[in-house]
């Protein structure tokens, strides 16, 4: 009896440690479909749960969902599971689930699938059908409860960590998108798939108080790198979204430790040096432009990323490795970094980020030469502060055209700029307004 149980234990260890190598040849996305079969108070739903179903407790803590999950065998099977005879009877979100299923199987993904780190190259795609629960005024936590995500498990193996991704797509981020629903859900999948390629282990509390992030929010370096890379993968399939990322960078959001955001022009003193690389949209654009501007750039970016992929990924490290891998492209890397950070990096910042490369040095020397066109000037910016923060100073012109500096916002409709009295930790120091006309804070007003 003891021998038998010991044998079983050893078998379990063997499975846990070596099974991935057995699957090594497979590169697959396995898909499951989940439907909500009931919603109600937790206590009620936890009683007599039908076989094959499970209970998910809502973020409100009071209610729960019963859900049933079934592995999808093919497209026709998925349509049947969604309760339709043909595609025409699918809801907008269900069409999105079907299109995501198709999208995940298209040939363009195959070359990316081989880049999934570790020996086990499987990804679980869970399509969650929230049909009947899209009324957010009644099901107030439905978006929180089923927001799309990539939940990952690391498994220790002989050569480090195995990474296993489970991507959940539900369409809760595309409610009410009508005919644009399916495209948006595919785009979300591409982003989450990008995370599946990436070993970055993001910082604790990387996303700030609310745990969410805007594309133009300053977050922690590893998190902004990971999100930027995921957005880059998305833009490989949806290049038209590059414009959206550029448009978002008119301002940058900084979350306060206690919650809420302040918003500043990208060129403000709130962001400097490597701090620009803490914004995921900037990282996404650096990846995207390198891939687009260099010959065979997409392959070069992906190869270099894969080669150096590790838990401590961040953009400066990626760029230094990229230059080591492809020294002939150092100038383009420097140009790209310079352009995507709006020409705001000093020579020292660029050297710190890219390392001491002769071509980088040449680029820096050329950009400061009067014969060379400097980086494009900043477009005119407007300040907007989402909510008032104590200690904020507002600069605005009154009806007579005189500059006013106040600690309260100006009358509604009056354009203004602001400066917080406190600095972003570790980045910028408080600056007193000595002379409003020469204040470096006043940029492009």
């Amino acid at each position: 009896m003891l021998k038998r149980s010991l044998l079983l234990t050893l078998l379990a260890i063997f499975s846990a440690c070596f099974a991935p190598s057995i699957w090594a040849a497979e590169t697959t996305v396995t898909t499951s479909y989940t439907a909500i079969t009931a919603f109600g108070p937790v206590n009620t739903l936890q009683q007599n749960v039908p076989e094959g179903e499970k209970v998910i407790i809502s973020a409100d803590g009071q209610n729960a969902y019963r859900v049933k999950t079934i592995k999808v065998t093919d497209e026709a099977h998925l349509i049947r599971l969604m309760g339709a005879a043909t595609e025409n009877e699918l809801t907008d979100l269900q069409k999105g689930l079907l299109e995501t299923y198709r999208f995940a199987r298209q040939a363009e993904f195959d070359s990316l699938k081989t880049r999934i780190p570790g020996q086990s190259k499987t990804i679980d795609l869970n399509l969650v059908d929230i049909t009947g629960y899209t009324d957010t005024s009644r099901y107030t936590k439905i978006t929180d409860d089923f927001w799309p995500q990539n939940s990952r498990t690391y498994r220790r193996s002989s050569d480090g960590f195995e990474l296993h991704s489970e991507i959940r797509i539900s369409g809760t981020d595309c409610l009410g998108y009508g005919s644009d629903t399916a495209r948006s859900m595919q785009s979300t999948f591409a982003h989450e798939f990008g995370h599946a390629l990436d070993k970055t282990f993001t910082e604790a509390n990387a996303y700030g108080h609310d745990g969410a992030h805007y594309v133009n929010e300053k977050i922690e370096p590893k998190a902004s790198f990971a999100e930027g890379f995921a957005n880059f993968i998305k833009m490989l399939f949806f290049p038209e979204e590059e414009k959206e990322f550029r448009d978002s960078l008119k301002t940058v959001k900084i979350e306060r430790p206690q919650g809420g955001y302040d918003e500043y022009p990208i060129a403000s003193v709130q962001i400097s040096g490597e701090g620009f690389l803490d914004i995921e949209a900037i990282n996404a654009l650096i990846f995207t432009r390198l891939a687009a501007d260099l010959p065979d750039g997409q392959k070069l970016v992906l190869d270099s990323f894969e080669k150096h992929n590790q838990q401590e990924n961040r953009m400066s490290r990626f760029l230094q490795n990229f230059i080591k891998d492809y020294p002939q492209h150092a100038t383009v890397v420097a140009q790209t970094l310079d352009r995507e950070t709006f020409g705001r990096l000093s020579d020292a910042d660029v050297r710190l980020i890219l390392g001491n490369n002769p071509d980088v040095q040449k680029y820096l020397a050329a950009r400061s030469s009067p014969n060379v066109t400097p980086p494009a000037p900043q477009p005119e910016e407007k300040y907007q502060v989402i909510t008032h923060k104590n200690g904020t100073i507002y600069k605005w012109k009154d009806a007579q055209g005189n500059w006013q500096f106040t600690d309260q916002p100006p009358p509604a409709g009056v354009e203004y700029t602001t400066r917080g009295s406190t600095a972003t930790p570790g980045k910028a120091s408080p600056v007193k307004i000595e002379n409003p006309d020469t204040d470096p804070f006043i940029i492009g007003y």
């Binding site: 149980s5 010991l6 234990t9 050893l10 379990a12 260890i13 846990a16 439907a35 079969t37 009931a38 039908p50 019963r66 049933k68 079934i70 599971l81 309760g83 005879a85 009877e89 699918l90 809801t91 907008d92 269900q94 069409k95 049909t131 009947g132 899209t134 009324d135 957010t136 005024s137 995500q149 990539n150 939940s151 498990t153 690391y154 220790r156 981020d173 595309c174 409610l175 009410g176 998108y177 009508g178 005919s179 644009d180 982003h191 282990f201 993001t202 604790a204 745990g211 969410a212 992030h213 805007y214 594309v215 133009n216 929010e217 999100e227 959206e244 448009d247 008119k250 301002t251 989402i386």
Partner: protein, 172 residues
């Protein structure tokens, strides 16, 4: 000997457990979602003599939704006797009730169990959507709000019809 083996087993199980760690979840990418256009509910299930009677409630949540085409689907063990129908419009705060009658067919339910579904294809009130999204109190972020407005304009230019449904699982 027994203690030694049990201890070894415990140790090995601990090794397995500690070899699996959950990676930190990536956080939610912030994006606004539209306010709901429509609310669909199925209530009051009454079962008698092989028949199932239900009431569906259709409500507009935003302005007046128009040209509603209502249709039904069910698992193989049920047949819905109610006909597909059309409703010209449903204004906000004027819910409409739809009676549904289904009978058991004697066949087995499918993988998802025993269920029936009411689908509604409709034209949303685009002007009401635009007005709602333009509310800067609810959608304060200019960039994210504009993304929603772009989606509305695209749907409006295509005169896109929306399709929502509610699925009722029987005996729950």
């Amino acid at each position: 000997m027994i203690k030694q083996v049990a201890g070894l087993q415990l140790l090995m199980m601990l090794m397995i457990l500690t070899s699996l760690i959950h990676g930190r979840l990536y956080a939610n990418q912030f994006s606004y979602v539209f306010p709901p256009n429509i609310s669909l509910q199925i209530v009051d299930q009454i079962e008698e003599a092989g028949k199932i009677r239900l009431t569906a409630i259709i409500e507009s949540r935003l302005g007046t939704i128009e040209d509603l085409e209502i249709f039904f689907e069910s698992s193989k063990d049920l047949r819905i006797l109610s006909n597909a129908s059309v409703i010209k419009s449903v204004p906000q705060a004027s819910p409409r009730k739809v009676k549904i009658l289904a009978v058991k067919t004697g066949q087995k339910a499918d993988e998802m169990g025993s269920w029936l579904k009411m689908g509604v294809r409709f034209t949303p009130d685009y002007q009401a959507i635009k007005a709602a999204v333009n509310d800067k109190q609810i959608y304060p972020d200019d960039f994210e709000r504009q993304k929603l407005l772009n989606v509305v304009e695209k749907n409006l230019s295509e005169n896109a019809r929306y399709l929502e449904a509610v699925r009722h699982f029987v005996n729950r």
